[in-house]
């Protein structure tokens, strides 16, 4: 069945009737003219290149390429949106930062304020969608945007919401950040983004409550489908991309195949949704992302988890008398999910130098480490921070070594990346059906 959007094609007149449509349409059009793709998209039913000799690949908004490891993208620097020149004086601020709640240590912010004698104002968003809608409205200007990921990058570029970076202000990028993330496929040359933190998707569990050694299982994901004994104490993340990709990883581990965790194949998505629905009967699975609280408090025993939340749980959320070594974490070495999020600069920033300084300040090894241990729990991709160091310092128990994402693990796993509009809708449909019970 055709989608209502396609049945009722968006005419130019209609687009102009919607204020949002005007802004977004113009943004997408502008960016479209300025995009260079290092590996030209191999063709698409709706994209710029059509050919009967290649398999069609999905494309992003406005026909922009969807970055993939085998389809790296260099986002163009357009005439109307250039990076700042070298050696400019620092502005007085205040510096406006837009991020998720509790995602940066306020002590670090104060340290920055002291160093640069500038005030910092923090504003927060709940979802990436909300952040992008607010940025696209053009009503508010933010200097630094923190926390968006590869699942949003095309929207950010298509609407020209970011200012390109001048690396001469960011010496810590080359000095401290993993080489794997200095020139990522989703933003070749780190033209618009630099990485903030990294994490994997895995399984967090209470080793004092589960009788199984999850990590030792042939396919650890199977534990969710064998969790009848823990009914009511099992959870998956309330995130469609992470959670629908979990049964896909399980299937692939059984067959030895490499899953495509950015698939848009409706049959694969339908199966993943149905597999998840089984969990409602098996263990009345909870759909939540407060596992960093519920696992330490033993309100759940087994939870699909982001590694950063489990590290955070061990450092900050253990109840009195409960040792963090009751928590265990497993994530696949390959063919699973890894993710990193971004530090970026808002296109219309009034403090571009101060914004660059802030990003470089966060990439400083000591600052990155302090931010991680004092507040965030999510590991920065810094050359000098790894699991051995954190265990040696007594910050995390050995049972959580797997929750510290490694560069090799990052390279062998997959990021959840932006999909085509149709693909996003297919994921939403499968997720809505699962959540309906």
């Amino acid at each position: 069945m055709a989608h209502p959007k396609d049945e009722h094609a968006l005419t130019r007149r209609r687009l102009l009737q919607g204020a949002a449509g005007v802004t977004l349409g113009a943004g997408a059009l502008g960016a479209l003219t300025g995009c260079e793709n290092t590996t030209t998209p191999t063709g698409s039913g709706t994209g710029p290149v059509q050919s009967r000799f290649v398999e069609a690949k999905p494309v992003g908004p406005g026909g922009l390429p969807l970055p993939r490891p085998d389809n790296a993208v260099t986002w163009a620097i357009t005439e109307d949106n250039k990076p700042i020149l070298d050696g400019r004086p620092v502005e007085a601020g205040p510096l406006k930062i837009y991020n998720y709640a509790d995602y940066i240590w306020t002590g670090l912010v104060q340290r920055f304020e002291k160093k640069y004698s500038a005030k910092v104002e923090l504003a927060t968003y709940d979802t990436a969608d909300q952040a992008i809608a607010k940025l696209a409205s053009g009503k508010v200007t933010f200097d630094v945007i923190l926390g968006l990921t590869g699942s949003n990058i095309v929207n950010l570029i298509a609407q020209q919401l970011l200012m390109p970076l001048n690396h001469s202000y960011l010496p810590n990028l080359e000095k401290n950040v993993w080489p794997e993330l200095q020139d990522p496929f989703y933003d070749r040359g780190s033209r618009y983004t630099v990485p903030y933190v990294v994490w994997s998707d895995g399984i967090g569990w209470r080793n004092d409550k589960l009788k199984e050694d999850v990590a030792a299982m042939d396919v650890p994901w199977d534990i969710f489908w064998h969790s009848q004994a823990y009914k009511g104490k099992v959870g998956v993340l309330d995130d469609k991309r992470d959670t629908l990709s979990m049964p896909m990883q399980r299937d692939a581990m059984h067959t030895g195949a490499r899953p495509d965790l950015n698939t848009e194949d409706p049959a694969v998505l339908e199966k993943a949704g149905k597999d998840l629905q089984q969990l409602t009967d098996i263990c009345n699975v909870k759909i939540a992302y407060n596992d960093y609280q519920t696992l330490p408090e033993a309100k759940t025993y087994l939870h699909h988890a982001w590694s950063g939340d489990i590290v955070g749980a061990a450092i900050y959320y253990m109840p009195k008398g409960v040792k963090p070594d009751v928590l265990s974490y497993w994530a696949p070495d390959a063919n699973g999910v890894v993710q990193n999020d971004f530090l970026c600069i808002g296109r219309h920033t009034k403090n571009p130098v101060l914004a660059h300084n802030f990003i470089d300040f966060v990439l400083d090894e000591k600052n990155a480490y302090d931010n991680f241990v004092q507040q965030n729990g999510y590991i920065p991709p810094q050359k000098g921070i790894d699991a051995d160091l954190l265990i040696k310092q007594g910050l995390i128990p050995k049972s959580l070594a797997g929750a510290v994402t490694r560069p090799d693990q990052f390279a062998a796993n997959q990021e959840l990346l932006q999909l085509s509009v149709e693909g996003e809708r297919a994921w939403d449909d499968a997720w809505s059906k699962f959540k309906a019970g």
Partner: protein, 305 residues
């Protein structure tokens, strides 16, 4: 003449408030539901009814007619709200009756105690229950000690001991009752308090037993209060999404508010979220029309009596 205009002017702020914050906002939802999406999956409202796109509405209606996920969630929401409303009435009526008819000089104190829960934010009250109902929580221990937990397990309303927060529909319904029951008690109290004592005395003088007097005089006269209370609790319950999220988080307790929240805040199908909002509003409108007709009828019967 001048006085008439003064009264109209006094009504103006309220009318403007309603127009801006209800009618305009509601029309925006309609314009989105009958609108389209742009190439970035953002909704494009169609403000002119002549341009309206019915495609999304038809898509959702087909989903409901074919018995897919939206029908499941709508039916569950109706069931939860109906049970929670009935329980609220069963709990709230005796309390309101006692406060209005038998509390005597303590009437105002009882009323104050009824309003007391409002002093604490709804979300905070629900968060408190998460601790109280955890496996070693005080409420869990109390429910176990007095045998209510065993009764719930026997009735199949609870799967395991101490499992109140394990994704139980019964917990969600009880949480809804707890959260909204004061909204029912207060209009009911007002209705019962207004009943002329002489009418009840007349019934007794004519030979009615206390029970028969209640059934044939008090209950009919309190009907407007019952209806108003039911409407006041049902409306927010229909749109509630944080209660099931907080005390359950299971797909088995997903209500229509959860689907709307997910579609409008986190997904690419914001227009579908707007359509669901509109369908829910249409259903509530039918209930409101019934309420208005029923109160008018009750008012007419009371006048005849």
């Amino acid at each position: 003449m001048g006085s008439r205009w003064t009264w109209r002017a006094l009504a103006a702020p309220g009318v403007i408030w309603l127009a801006v914050f209800f009618l305009v906002a509601f029309y925006a939802v309609i314009a989105v539901a009958f609108g389209n999406e742009d190439s970035l999956s953002q909704p494009v409202p169609f403000w002119n009814p002549l341009d309206w796109n019915v495609g999304y509405v038809i898509q959702v209606l087909k989903n409901i007619v074919h018995g897919e996920q939206f029908l499941t969630v709508f039916l569950r929401t109706f069931a939860f709200v109906a049970i929670a409303m009935a329980l609220s009435l069963a709990i709230g009526y005796p309390v309101a009756y006692f406060a209005a008819r038998h509390a005597g000089r303590w009437k105002m104190l009882v009323l104050l105690l009824l309003i007391l829960p409002f002093w604490i934010n709804y979300l905070m009250r629900m968060l408190a229950w998460i601790n109280l109902l955890s496996p070693d929580g005080w409420a869990t221990r109390f429910l176990h000690t007095v045998g209510i937990e065993q009764l719930f397990i026997w009735l199949g309303l609870l799967s395991t001991e101490g499992g109140w927060l394990d994704g139980q529909p019964s917990t969600v319904i009880l949480a809804l009752v707890y959260g909204y029951v004061p909204f029912l008690i207060i209009p009911l109290f007002a209705a019962l308090d207004r009943i002329d004592q002489r009418q009840i005395e007349a019934a007794r003088d004519l030979g009615a037993s206390p029970f028969s007097g209640f059934l044939r005089v008090t209950l009919p006269l309190s009907t407007p209060g019952i209806l108003a209370g039911c409407v006041l609790v049902a409306l927010p319950m229909f749109g509630d999404y944080y209660t099931p999220d907080l005390v359950s988080a299971s797909a088995k307790t997903n209500m229509i508010g959860n689907q709307i929240d997910q579609l409008t805040r986190q997904g690419s199908e914001k227009v579908v979220g707007a359509v669901l909002t509109l369908i829910l509003s249409a259903v509530l409108l039918v209930l409101m029309v019934y309420y208005l007709r029923a109160t008018r009828r009750a008012g007419a019967e009371a006048a005849e009596a």
